[in-house]
Symmetry: C2
Subunit: 177 residues, 2 copies
């Protein structure tokens, strides 16, 4: 199964973390929570506590089969740290899946990864997505190569379905190696 790096900080949107995380675990994928430093972070709306197991500066892109970026204000907090942005760039260069929802695209904007890509995200960041050179799509889930993106909590079921499908395809590729 896939090892998924979850990029998370305080003020994440609880449902956008909790529901996909539960579905990924149920499908027997392994989650490793990554952040600026080891410790506990807390969700914005429901106050869920999540243990950050590793600092991004202590891991390598090769350690993971996919990245998952929940929304809320967590992505904005993460992208003010150069080492997080550098890690996202390093991971993106592998071409492996990046699954993001809501404000998650902010991290990819700062990492300069959206040019020419079809992407969706939360309403407030639509202009930022467009200005980054992406083709914004107002859909519950947008699939473009290794990128799976959704807009908001209401899109979570579609986000989970598309993400699990993508992880399965990648699993098939790994088995062929």
């Amino acid at each position: 199964m896939a090892v998924i790096g979850v990029l998370i900080e305080n003020k994440f949107e609880d449902s956008e973390y909790k529901k996909p995380a539960a579905a990924f675990k149920k499908a027997r994928h392994k989650l490793v929570h990554l952040g600026v430093k080891k410790g506990t972070v807390k969700g914005e709306t429901a106050g869920i506590k999540v243990k950050v197991e590793k600092a991004v500066s202590d891991v390598d892109a090769g350690d993971f089969d996919a990245l998952f970026i929940p929304g809320g204000y967590s992505p904005d907090l993460l992208r003010s740290h150069d080492e997080v942005v550098a890690f996202v760039k390093q991971f993106a260069a592998t071409g492996k899946p990046i699954l993001f929802i809501c404000h998650g695209a902010q991290l990819l904007i700062t990492a300069n990864l959206l040019k020419g890509r079809r992407v969706t995200g939360w309403k407030s960041i639509i202009q930022d997505i467009k200005n980054a050179g992406a083709k914004y799509r107002d859909q519950e889930v947008v699939k473009d190569g290794n990128f799976i993106s959704s807009r908001c909590p209401a899109d979570i079921p579609a986000f989970i379905k598309a993400s699990l499908g993508k992880l399965n395809i990648e699993k098939g590729k790994r088995n062929l190696l």
Copy 2:
């Protein structure tokens, strides 16, 4: 003295509102707090409560001599409302001062107002500012025509000084009319 419209929502950065607001009032300017709807909003770090006196949909750009946009997550919340973005565009067309700090520039990005302008803002939104076509400057305060911008709480004294200077120049203009 100037009538300053303060664009504010929940999760504003308390110091970035409180200190400039106090300085503007001390200089005998009048503040009118504007938001999505009338009511009370609360600061992110210190929990200061601010009364929103008017909804932007109930005011006209002509009612104000300047706009002030404190940072925190207030600007991101405000820009998901079309009527707030429309009001900012309408006000910007008057050419009167817009004073913004930290995440404040986000509102101007969504309103498509930064192209070719010299602007600063909080670290996490630097790439968004650049992608919006602005010339990002890493300075405590950046003055470009009617725009006065600063990066973060540490810049507040410079932000206040430049803002008051700008309001004085505008006052001189009004007195000549």
